[in-house]
Symmetry: C2
Subunit: 244 residues, 2 copies
Protein backbone atom coordinates (compact mmCIF):
# COMPACT_ATOMS: atom_id res chain seq x y z
CA UNK A 1 0.00 0.00 0.00
CA UNK A 2 3.01 2.29 -0.30
CA UNK A 3 4.90 3.98 -3.10
CA UNK A 4 1.58 4.04 -4.93
CA UNK A 5 -0.77 6.99 -4.41
CA UNK A 6 -3.56 6.04 -2.01
CA UNK A 7 -6.33 6.90 -4.46
CA UNK A 8 -4.89 4.34 -6.92
CA UNK A 9 -4.74 1.81 -4.14
CA UNK A 10 -8.41 2.35 -3.29
CA UNK A 11 -9.34 2.29 -6.99
CA UNK A 12 -7.54 -1.02 -7.43
CA UNK A 13 -9.37 -2.52 -4.47
CA UNK A 14 -12.68 -1.58 -6.06
CA UNK A 15 -11.74 -2.42 -9.63
CA UNK A 16 -10.81 -6.02 -8.92
CA UNK A 17 -14.23 -7.28 -7.78
CA UNK A 18 -15.95 -5.31 -10.54
CA UNK A 19 -13.86 -6.85 -13.32
CA UNK A 20 -14.11 -10.29 -11.72
CA UNK A 21 -17.87 -10.00 -11.63
CA UNK A 22 -18.12 -10.29 -7.85
CA UNK A 23 -19.86 -6.94 -7.84
CA UNK A 24 -22.77 -7.35 -10.20
CA UNK A 25 -23.66 -4.62 -12.67
CA UNK A 26 -26.14 -2.25 -11.07
CA UNK A 27 -25.02 -2.85 -7.51
CA UNK A 28 -24.09 0.13 -5.36
CA UNK A 29 -20.57 0.86 -4.21
CA UNK A 30 -19.82 2.27 -0.74
CA UNK A 31 -20.29 6.02 -0.66
CA UNK A 32 -17.23 8.24 -0.74
CA UNK A 33 -17.49 9.01 3.00
CA UNK A 34 -17.98 5.34 3.82
CA UNK A 35 -14.92 4.41 1.74
CA UNK A 36 -12.88 7.10 3.44
CA UNK A 37 -13.74 5.70 6.87
CA UNK A 38 -13.24 2.10 5.77
CA UNK A 39 -9.78 2.57 4.34
CA UNK A 40 -8.59 5.36 6.64
CA UNK A 41 -8.14 7.98 3.94
CA UNK A 42 -9.58 11.42 3.43
CA UNK A 43 -12.77 11.89 1.54
CA UNK A 44 -10.88 13.54 -1.33
CA UNK A 45 -8.91 10.36 -1.81
CA UNK A 46 -11.96 8.12 -2.01
CA UNK A 47 -13.57 10.68 -4.27
CA UNK A 48 -10.51 10.67 -6.54
CA UNK A 49 -10.58 6.88 -6.72
CA UNK A 50 -14.28 6.77 -7.58
CA UNK A 51 -13.95 9.41 -10.27
CA UNK A 52 -11.12 7.41 -11.77
CA UNK A 53 -13.39 4.39 -12.04
CA UNK A 54 -16.08 6.60 -13.58
CA UNK A 55 -13.60 7.87 -16.17
CA UNK A 56 -12.70 4.27 -16.98
CA UNK A 57 -16.33 3.52 -17.66
CA UNK A 58 -16.63 0.92 -14.92
CA UNK A 59 -18.75 2.94 -12.55
CA UNK A 60 -21.60 5.39 -12.90
CA UNK A 61 -22.30 8.27 -10.50
CA UNK A 62 -25.90 9.07 -9.70
CA UNK A 63 -25.93 12.38 -7.82
CA UNK A 64 -27.86 12.19 -4.61
CA UNK A 65 -27.94 8.43 -4.76
CA UNK A 66 -24.54 6.80 -5.01
CA UNK A 67 -21.95 5.14 -7.20
CA UNK A 68 -23.10 2.09 -9.12
CA UNK A 69 -21.34 -0.63 -11.09
CA UNK A 70 -22.22 0.14 -14.66
CA UNK A 71 -24.65 -2.03 -16.49
CA UNK A 72 -23.01 -3.35 -19.64
CA UNK A 73 -24.24 -0.90 -22.25
CA UNK A 74 -26.12 -1.98 -25.34
CA UNK A 75 -23.54 -2.30 -28.10
CA UNK A 76 -24.51 -1.22 -31.60
CA UNK A 77 -22.52 -2.62 -34.49
CA UNK A 78 -22.33 -0.54 -37.63
CA UNK A 79 -21.61 -2.69 -40.63
CA UNK A 80 -19.41 -0.52 -42.85
CA UNK A 81 -19.24 -2.93 -45.74
CA UNK A 82 -22.82 -3.36 -46.81
CA UNK A 83 -24.03 -0.39 -48.68
CA UNK A 84 -27.51 -1.74 -49.13
CA UNK A 85 -29.73 0.78 -47.43
CA UNK A 86 -30.24 4.18 -45.86
CA UNK A 87 -28.07 6.87 -44.39
CA UNK A 88 -24.99 6.36 -42.26
CA UNK A 89 -26.52 5.07 -39.03
CA UNK A 90 -27.93 1.95 -40.51
CA UNK A 91 -29.04 -0.54 -37.89
CA UNK A 92 -30.48 2.29 -35.78
CA UNK A 93 -33.60 4.35 -35.97
CA UNK A 94 -32.89 7.50 -37.96
CA UNK A 95 -33.82 10.99 -36.81
CA UNK A 96 -33.26 13.34 -39.73
CA UNK A 97 -31.81 16.75 -38.98
CA UNK A 98 -32.35 18.05 -42.49
CA UNK A 99 -30.20 19.38 -45.32
CA UNK A 100 -28.61 22.81 -45.56
CA UNK A 101 -26.74 24.54 -48.32
CA UNK A 102 -23.46 26.04 -47.17
CA UNK A 103 -20.12 27.14 -48.53
CA UNK A 104 -17.44 24.59 -47.90
CA UNK A 105 -14.70 25.24 -45.32
CA UNK A 106 -11.12 24.08 -44.91
CA UNK A 107 -11.09 20.45 -43.91
CA UNK A 108 -14.21 19.37 -45.75
CA UNK A 109 -13.06 21.29 -48.82
CA UNK A 110 -9.84 19.32 -48.77
CA UNK A 111 -11.67 16.02 -48.47
CA UNK A 112 -13.90 16.88 -51.42
CA UNK A 113 -10.99 18.46 -53.31
CA UNK A 114 -12.96 21.69 -53.70
CA UNK A 115 -11.84 25.28 -53.45
CA UNK A 116 -12.98 27.11 -50.32
CA UNK A 117 -16.33 28.78 -50.84
CA UNK A 118 -17.87 26.23 -53.23
CA UNK A 119 -21.49 25.42 -52.38
CA UNK A 120 -22.24 22.06 -50.80
CA UNK A 121 -25.24 20.30 -49.29
CA UNK A 122 -24.78 19.32 -45.67
CA UNK A 123 -27.10 16.60 -44.41
CA UNK A 124 -27.21 15.36 -40.83
CA UNK A 125 -29.05 12.67 -38.98
CA UNK A 126 -28.96 11.06 -35.58
CA UNK A 127 -28.96 7.34 -34.95
CA UNK A 128 -31.29 6.58 -32.07
CA UNK A 129 -31.69 3.54 -29.85
CA UNK A 130 -34.42 3.47 -27.20
CA UNK A 131 -35.03 7.17 -27.88
CA UNK A 132 -31.45 7.98 -26.92
CA UNK A 133 -28.99 9.41 -29.44
CA UNK A 134 -26.09 7.06 -30.12
CA UNK A 135 -24.40 8.36 -33.24
CA UNK A 136 -24.38 11.47 -35.39
CA UNK A 137 -23.90 11.33 -39.15
CA UNK A 138 -23.04 14.43 -41.14
CA UNK A 139 -22.52 14.28 -44.90
CA UNK A 140 -21.31 16.85 -47.40
CA UNK A 141 -21.58 16.77 -51.19
CA UNK A 142 -21.05 19.39 -53.89
CA UNK A 143 -24.35 21.05 -54.66
CA UNK A 144 -23.40 21.11 -58.34
CA UNK A 145 -23.79 17.33 -58.57
CA UNK A 146 -27.55 17.23 -58.14
CA UNK A 147 -28.73 20.85 -57.98
CA UNK A 148 -31.95 21.32 -59.89
CA UNK A 149 -32.66 17.60 -60.12
CA UNK A 150 -34.88 15.60 -57.79
CA UNK A 151 -31.81 13.77 -56.55
CA UNK A 152 -30.58 16.28 -53.99
CA UNK A 153 -30.32 15.00 -50.42
CA UNK A 154 -33.37 17.09 -49.57
CA UNK A 155 -35.49 15.66 -52.37
CA UNK A 156 -34.61 12.01 -52.05
CA UNK A 157 -36.94 9.68 -50.19
CA UNK A 158 -35.79 8.78 -46.71
CA UNK A 159 -33.81 5.57 -46.58
CA UNK A 160 -32.15 6.07 -49.95
CA UNK A 161 -28.42 5.38 -49.86
CA UNK A 162 -25.89 7.78 -51.35
CA UNK A 163 -25.01 5.13 -53.91
CA UNK A 164 -28.59 4.83 -55.12
CA UNK A 165 -29.24 8.53 -55.08
CA UNK A 166 -26.10 9.70 -56.83
CA UNK A 167 -26.24 6.67 -59.11
CA UNK A 168 -29.67 7.83 -60.29
CA UNK A 169 -28.17 11.27 -60.90
CA UNK A 170 -25.54 9.71 -63.15
CA UNK A 171 -22.71 9.66 -60.62
CA UNK A 172 -21.42 6.09 -60.32
CA UNK A 173 -19.59 5.68 -57.03
CA UNK A 174 -17.00 2.94 -57.28
CA UNK A 175 -14.65 3.52 -54.37
CA UNK A 176 -14.94 4.30 -50.67
CA UNK A 177 -12.19 5.32 -48.28
CA UNK A 178 -12.77 5.37 -44.55
CA UNK A 179 -10.49 6.70 -41.86
CA UNK A 180 -11.28 5.66 -38.30
CA UNK A 181 -10.03 7.47 -35.21
CA UNK A 182 -10.90 8.80 -31.78
CA UNK A 183 -11.04 12.46 -30.78
CA UNK A 184 -12.67 14.61 -28.12
CA UNK A 185 -16.31 15.51 -28.74
CA UNK A 186 -16.79 19.09 -29.94
CA UNK A 187 -19.58 21.48 -29.28
CA UNK A 188 -22.27 21.31 -31.91
CA UNK A 189 -22.08 17.52 -31.71
CA UNK A 190 -22.11 17.23 -27.94
CA UNK A 191 -25.50 18.83 -27.46
CA UNK A 192 -27.02 16.69 -30.21
CA UNK A 193 -25.59 13.50 -28.75
CA UNK A 194 -26.29 14.65 -25.18
CA UNK A 195 -22.74 13.82 -24.15
CA UNK A 196 -20.19 16.01 -22.39
CA UNK A 197 -17.89 17.98 -24.70
CA UNK A 198 -14.35 16.68 -24.48
CA UNK A 199 -15.45 13.07 -24.07
CA UNK A 200 -13.61 10.79 -26.50
CA UNK A 201 -15.77 9.59 -29.39
CA UNK A 202 -15.28 7.20 -32.26
CA UNK A 203 -15.12 8.99 -35.61
CA UNK A 204 -15.37 7.54 -39.11
CA UNK A 205 -14.45 9.92 -41.90
CA UNK A 206 -15.78 8.38 -45.10
CA UNK A 207 -15.32 9.62 -48.64
CA UNK A 208 -17.09 8.26 -51.72
CA UNK A 209 -15.26 8.47 -55.05
CA UNK A 210 -16.18 8.25 -58.68
CA UNK A 211 -12.84 7.19 -60.05
CA UNK A 212 -10.40 9.74 -58.65
CA UNK A 213 -13.05 12.37 -57.97
CA UNK A 214 -14.49 12.62 -54.44
CA UNK A 215 -18.25 13.11 -54.70
CA UNK A 216 -19.39 12.82 -51.10
CA UNK A 217 -17.77 12.82 -47.68
CA UNK A 218 -19.19 12.24 -44.23
CA UNK A 219 -18.40 11.98 -40.55
CA UNK A 220 -19.91 9.37 -38.29
CA UNK A 221 -19.47 10.31 -34.64
CA UNK A 222 -20.46 7.77 -32.03
CA UNK A 223 -20.16 7.12 -28.33
CA UNK A 224 -17.26 4.77 -27.62
CA UNK A 225 -19.39 2.89 -25.11
CA UNK A 226 -22.12 1.98 -27.54
CA UNK A 227 -20.54 1.85 -30.99
CA UNK A 228 -18.53 -0.79 -32.81
CA UNK A 229 -17.57 -0.82 -36.47
CA UNK A 230 -17.76 -4.00 -38.50
CA UNK A 231 -15.77 -4.58 -41.67
CA UNK A 232 -16.29 -7.72 -43.72
CA UNK A 233 -13.52 -7.94 -46.28
CA UNK A 234 -13.43 -10.51 -49.03
CA UNK A 235 -10.10 -11.73 -50.33
CA UNK A 236 -11.75 -13.86 -52.98
CA UNK A 237 -9.23 -13.18 -55.79
CA UNK A 238 -5.52 -12.59 -55.47
CA UNK A 239 -4.13 -10.86 -52.40
CA UNK A 240 -4.81 -7.15 -52.70
CA UNK A 241 -2.12 -5.20 -54.46
CA UNK A 242 -0.12 -2.49 -52.80
CA UNK A 243 -1.94 0.80 -52.17
CA UNK A 244 -0.95 3.86 -50.19
Amino acid sequence: MDGQPRYLWVADLLRRPILDGELEPGSRLPSRSRLARTYGVSEQVSRHALRLLVSEGLVEARPGSGYYVRTVPQIHRFSRTDRSSGAGVDPLQRADLGTRTETVCGIVARRLELRDGVRVFRTSCLGMADDMPVALHTAWEPAALTQGTLRTPADAEAGTSVLQRLGAAGVAIDRVVEEVGVRPLREPESSLLKLAPGLPVLVVERTHYQGRRPVETSDLVGSIDHCRLLYRLSLARSPKREGR
Copy 2:
Protein backbone atom coordinates in the same frame (compact mmCIF):
# COMPACT_ATOMS: atom_id res chain seq x y z
CA MET B 1 -19.62 32.96 -15.16
CA ASP B 2 -22.54 31.60 -13.16
CA GLY B 3 -24.63 28.48 -13.19
CA GLN B 4 -21.60 26.76 -14.63
CA PRO B 5 -19.02 25.28 -12.25
CA ARG B 6 -16.01 27.58 -11.96
CA TYR B 7 -13.53 24.93 -13.05
CA LEU B 8 -15.43 24.54 -16.34
CA TRP B 9 -15.39 28.29 -16.75
CA VAL B 10 -11.62 28.40 -16.28
CA ALA B 11 -11.16 25.42 -18.60
CA ASP B 12 -13.22 27.14 -21.29
CA LEU B 13 -11.13 30.30 -21.01
CA LEU B 14 -7.99 28.25 -21.60
CA ARG B 15 -9.44 25.94 -24.24
CA ARG B 16 -10.50 28.69 -26.59
CA PRO B 17 -7.05 30.13 -27.39
CA ILE B 18 -5.58 26.62 -27.63
CA LEU B 19 -8.10 25.44 -30.20
CA ASP B 20 -7.87 28.74 -32.07
CA GLY B 21 -4.12 28.40 -32.27
CA GLU B 22 -3.42 31.60 -30.36
CA LEU B 23 -1.46 29.52 -27.86
CA GLU B 24 1.11 27.67 -29.93
CA PRO B 25 1.83 24.01 -29.28
CA GLY B 26 4.66 23.74 -26.77
CA SER B 27 3.97 27.03 -25.03
CA ARG B 28 3.51 27.06 -21.28
CA LEU B 29 0.23 27.78 -19.57
CA PRO B 30 0.02 29.80 -16.33
CA SER B 31 0.73 27.60 -13.32
CA ARG B 32 -2.17 26.44 -11.19
CA SER B 33 -1.40 28.97 -8.43
CA ARG B 34 -1.05 31.77 -10.97
CA LEU B 35 -4.39 30.83 -12.54
CA ALA B 36 -6.03 30.75 -9.13
CA ARG B 37 -4.84 34.29 -8.37
CA THR B 38 -5.71 35.57 -11.84
CA TYR B 39 -9.28 34.33 -11.84
CA GLY B 40 -9.98 34.61 -8.12
CA VAL B 41 -10.61 30.92 -7.54
CA SER B 42 -9.03 28.39 -5.23
CA GLU B 43 -6.06 26.39 -6.36
CA GLN B 44 -8.17 23.22 -6.46
CA VAL B 45 -10.42 24.84 -9.04
CA SER B 46 -7.57 25.81 -11.35
CA ARG B 47 -6.09 22.38 -10.83
CA HIS B 48 -9.41 20.76 -11.75
CA ALA B 49 -9.60 22.84 -14.91
CA LEU B 50 -6.06 21.98 -15.97
CA ARG B 51 -6.56 18.27 -15.37
CA LEU B 52 -9.68 18.41 -17.49
CA LEU B 53 -7.67 19.85 -20.35
CA VAL B 54 -5.05 17.14 -19.82
CA SER B 55 -7.74 14.46 -19.98
CA GLU B 56 -8.98 16.00 -23.22
CA GLY B 57 -5.52 15.65 -24.68
CA LEU B 58 -5.06 19.38 -25.24
CA VAL B 59 -2.52 19.96 -22.50
CA GLU B 60 0.42 18.05 -21.10
CA ALA B 61 1.61 18.24 -17.49
CA ARG B 62 5.35 18.19 -16.82
CA PRO B 63 5.80 17.74 -13.07
CA GLY B 64 8.09 20.33 -11.60
CA SER B 65 7.93 22.42 -14.72
CA GLY B 66 4.42 23.39 -15.74
CA TYR B 67 1.48 22.76 -18.03
CA TYR B 68 2.18 22.94 -21.75
CA VAL B 69 0.01 23.06 -24.86
CA ARG B 70 0.47 19.68 -26.44
CA THR B 71 2.44 19.33 -29.59
CA VAL B 72 0.31 17.74 -32.28
CA PRO B 73 1.26 14.08 -32.05
CA GLN B 74 2.60 12.11 -34.98
CA ILE B 75 -0.35 10.27 -36.51
CA HIS B 76 0.17 6.76 -37.81
CA ARG B 77 -2.29 5.39 -40.33
CA PHE B 78 -2.77 1.65 -40.45
CA SER B 79 -4.05 0.53 -43.80
CA ARG B 80 -6.37 -2.36 -43.01
CA THR B 81 -7.13 -3.28 -46.60
CA ASP B 82 -3.76 -4.15 -48.04
CA ARG B 83 -2.63 -7.50 -46.86
CA SER B 84 0.66 -7.31 -48.70
CA SER B 85 3.27 -7.57 -45.99
CA GLY B 86 4.25 -8.38 -42.42
CA ALA B 87 2.48 -8.62 -39.11
CA GLY B 88 -0.29 -6.38 -37.89
CA VAL B 89 1.58 -3.12 -37.30
CA ASP B 90 2.55 -2.56 -40.86
CA PRO B 91 3.85 0.93 -41.52
CA LEU B 92 5.74 0.87 -38.22
CA GLN B 93 8.95 -0.72 -37.09
CA ARG B 94 8.19 -4.11 -35.60
CA ALA B 95 9.51 -5.31 -32.24
CA ASP B 96 8.71 -9.00 -31.96
CA LEU B 97 7.62 -10.29 -28.57
CA GLY B 98 7.75 -13.94 -29.61
CA THR B 99 5.33 -16.83 -29.87
CA ARG B 100 3.97 -18.92 -27.01
CA THR B 101 1.85 -22.02 -26.96
CA GLU B 102 -1.13 -21.73 -24.64
CA THR B 103 -4.53 -23.24 -24.06
CA VAL B 104 -7.27 -21.04 -25.38
CA CYS B 105 -9.58 -19.16 -23.00
CA GLY B 106 -13.14 -17.89 -23.19
CA ILE B 107 -13.29 -14.97 -25.57
CA VAL B 108 -10.53 -16.02 -27.93
CA ALA B 109 -11.96 -19.56 -28.00
CA ARG B 110 -15.29 -18.12 -29.10
CA ARG B 111 -13.66 -16.09 -31.85
CA LEU B 112 -11.80 -19.13 -33.16
CA GLU B 113 -14.83 -21.37 -32.58
CA LEU B 114 -12.73 -23.72 -30.48
CA ARG B 115 -13.53 -25.54 -27.26
CA ASP B 116 -11.85 -24.17 -24.14
CA GLY B 117 -8.48 -25.80 -23.56
CA VAL B 118 -7.48 -26.34 -27.20
CA ARG B 119 -3.84 -25.46 -27.84
CA VAL B 120 -3.12 -22.26 -29.77
CA PHE B 121 -0.08 -20.21 -30.72
CA ARG B 122 -0.07 -16.68 -29.37
CA THR B 123 2.20 -14.26 -31.17
CA SER B 124 2.74 -10.65 -30.13
CA CYS B 125 4.63 -7.71 -31.48
CA LEU B 126 4.89 -4.01 -30.83
CA GLY B 127 4.73 -1.32 -33.47
CA MET B 128 7.37 1.29 -32.73
CA ALA B 129 7.86 4.84 -33.97
CA ASP B 130 10.90 6.81 -32.87
CA ASP B 131 11.67 4.05 -30.36
CA MET B 132 8.33 4.61 -28.65
CA PRO B 133 5.64 1.91 -28.63
CA VAL B 134 2.52 2.95 -30.52
CA ALA B 135 0.52 -0.21 -31.04
CA LEU B 136 0.42 -3.78 -29.76
CA HIS B 137 -0.59 -6.68 -31.96
CA THR B 138 -1.51 -10.06 -30.49
CA ALA B 139 -2.55 -12.96 -32.70
CA TRP B 140 -3.92 -16.39 -31.88
CA GLU B 141 -4.19 -19.42 -34.18
CA PRO B 142 -4.91 -23.08 -33.54
CA ALA B 143 -1.63 -24.93 -33.09
CA ALA B 144 -3.08 -27.86 -35.02
CA LEU B 145 -3.00 -25.84 -38.25
CA THR B 146 0.77 -25.71 -38.59
CA GLN B 147 2.21 -27.78 -35.76
CA GLY B 148 5.18 -29.84 -36.93
CA THR B 149 5.57 -27.86 -40.15
CA LEU B 150 7.95 -24.98 -40.73
CA ARG B 151 4.95 -22.69 -41.08
CA THR B 152 4.28 -22.02 -37.39
CA PRO B 153 4.43 -18.36 -36.35
CA ALA B 154 7.70 -19.14 -34.59
CA ASP B 155 9.32 -20.71 -37.65
CA ALA B 156 8.22 -18.23 -40.30
CA GLU B 157 10.64 -15.54 -41.41
CA ALA B 158 9.94 -12.14 -39.96
CA GLY B 159 7.75 -10.02 -42.21
CA THR B 160 5.68 -12.91 -43.53
CA SER B 161 1.96 -12.18 -43.54
CA VAL B 162 -0.57 -14.60 -42.12
CA LEU B 163 -1.99 -15.04 -45.60
CA GLN B 164 1.36 -16.09 -47.04
CA ARG B 165 2.28 -18.29 -44.12
CA LEU B 166 -1.01 -20.16 -43.75
CA GLY B 167 -1.37 -20.25 -47.52
CA ALA B 168 1.94 -22.11 -47.71
CA ALA B 169 0.59 -24.49 -45.08
CA GLY B 170 -2.42 -25.22 -47.28
CA VAL B 171 -4.88 -22.95 -45.48
CA ALA B 172 -6.35 -20.53 -48.01
CA ILE B 173 -7.74 -17.50 -46.20
CA ASP B 174 -10.53 -15.91 -48.21
CA ARG B 175 -12.39 -13.73 -45.74
CA VAL B 176 -11.53 -11.22 -43.03
CA VAL B 177 -13.85 -9.70 -40.45
CA GLU B 178 -12.76 -6.74 -38.36
CA GLU B 179 -14.54 -5.20 -35.41
CA VAL B 180 -13.33 -1.77 -34.31
CA GLY B 181 -14.00 -0.27 -30.92
CA VAL B 182 -12.58 1.65 -27.98
CA ARG B 183 -12.05 0.28 -24.49
CA PRO B 184 -9.92 1.07 -21.45
CA LEU B 185 -6.36 -0.22 -21.58
CA ARG B 186 -5.80 -3.32 -19.43
CA GLU B 187 -2.78 -4.38 -17.50
CA PRO B 188 -0.51 -6.61 -19.53
CA GLU B 189 -0.93 -4.19 -22.44
CA SER B 190 -0.40 -0.99 -20.52
CA SER B 191 3.13 -1.78 -19.41
CA LEU B 192 4.11 -2.86 -22.93
CA LEU B 193 2.67 0.31 -24.47
CA LYS B 194 3.93 2.45 -21.58
CA LEU B 195 0.51 4.01 -21.17
CA ALA B 196 -1.61 4.33 -18.04
CA PRO B 197 -4.07 1.48 -17.46
CA GLY B 198 -7.64 2.67 -17.89
CA LEU B 199 -6.73 5.03 -20.72
CA PRO B 200 -9.04 4.55 -23.71
CA VAL B 201 -7.38 2.76 -26.63
CA LEU B 202 -8.45 1.89 -30.14
CA VAL B 203 -8.94 -1.85 -30.61
CA VAL B 204 -9.28 -3.83 -33.84
CA GLU B 205 -10.42 -7.41 -33.39
CA ARG B 206 -9.64 -9.18 -36.65
CA THR B 207 -10.52 -12.73 -37.62
CA HIS B 208 -9.30 -14.54 -40.72
CA TYR B 209 -11.55 -17.22 -42.22
CA GLN B 210 -11.15 -20.08 -44.62
CA GLY B 211 -14.72 -20.33 -45.79
CA ARG B 212 -16.76 -20.52 -42.60
CA ARG B 213 -13.87 -21.69 -40.46
CA PRO B 214 -11.93 -19.11 -38.41
CA VAL B 215 -8.22 -19.88 -38.69
CA GLU B 216 -6.61 -16.88 -37.01
CA THR B 217 -7.72 -14.01 -34.83
CA SER B 218 -5.88 -11.00 -33.52
CA ASP B 219 -6.16 -7.80 -31.48
CA LEU B 220 -4.55 -4.57 -32.51
CA VAL B 221 -4.42 -2.15 -29.58
CA GLY B 222 -3.25 1.38 -30.27
CA SER B 223 -3.09 4.77 -28.61
CA ILE B 224 -6.02 6.94 -29.70
CA ASP B 225 -3.70 9.92 -30.05
CA HIS B 226 -1.39 8.30 -32.56
CA CYS B 227 -3.45 5.71 -34.45
CA ARG B 228 -5.88 5.93 -37.35
CA LEU B 229 -7.33 3.07 -39.35
CA LEU B 230 -7.65 3.28 -43.11
CA TYR B 231 -10.09 1.20 -45.12
CA ARG B 232 -10.09 1.35 -48.90
CA LEU B 233 -13.21 -0.38 -50.17
CA SER B 234 -13.86 -1.07 -53.81
CA LEU B 235 -17.43 -1.14 -55.10
CA ALA B 236 -16.32 -2.16 -58.57
CA ARG B 237 -19.14 -4.66 -59.26
CA SER B 238 -22.70 -4.55 -58.07
CA PRO B 239 -23.51 -3.06 -54.68
CA LYS B 240 -22.56 -5.55 -51.97
CA ARG B 241 -25.29 -7.98 -51.05
CA GLU B 242 -26.86 -8.04 -47.64
CA GLY B 243 -24.86 -9.68 -44.84
CA ARG B 244 -25.61 -10.51 -41.18
